[in-house]
Subunit: 112 residues, 2 copies
Amino acid sequence: MDAVFKALADETRRSILDRLYAQGGQTLGELWAPYAKSMSRQAVMKHLTILEEAHLVTVVWSGREKHHYLNPVPIHSIQSRWIRKFERARMDALSALKSALEEPPLKGKRNA
Amino acid sequence: MDAVFKALADETRRSILDRLYAQGGQTLGELWAPYAKSMSRQAVMKHLTILEEAHLVTVVWSGREKHHYLNPVPIHSIQSRWIRKFERARMDALSALKSALEEPPLKGKRNA
DNA sequence: TTGACATGTAACTGTTTAGTTACATATAGT
DNA sequence: ACTATATGTAACTAAACAGTTACATGTCAA
């Protein structure tokens, strides 16, 4: 799980996932194109390696071309094993606020 | 948003959030206690600063004591602005699998 | 089989990060 | 006022990280 959080900590890698969400099966060269002016092909390759190691991206070789696909499973794990819990805390805060608004303190002035 | 992802990339910080979820209002000293054998108070303080800057933790001073509370809002933002999108990709993959199972290819052998 | 193309590996660099130690400040209690 | 307690600041270190350049490997196509 730590590898997934670490992988998601970098903006370039998150935007690569965005692009693979929009269109799966892109090669390294294709994924590099949007960044070609800002970084080297090797830099993008390193990012892809990190995404693969976190299992956020799967790879299919076809001859000399490496096609990349988004794997949404680790993101789902984070959602279900980690985020869901904190959503409960948020609901608690919301319902506390709600009852505070609906049930003013004894002898308190409403909306004062 | 980048600050939140960066903050969540560290295991110690995630476990601090866990502890604040379990019990809000803990002081620096209290939050440090579980790690006292593995790292200095100042190290924990740095982690708390990073969590505060990402707005994942809010602070209430009471005399010389600093009380920390979990703020679930940024986590909710990640869930609603970022993760939800990739959940769609997962549903697509699941429904593709489902229809592949239900509707075998023309002249294909069922379960062959 | 030669050349072009797509990807991989390795060594290096500058910056960020997680941690340390030492010292400083501020508040509470006697 | 004095002392103990709670937190803050600063300077430093080692390791991790994002990026680079140079070179290597493997595959397609004429």
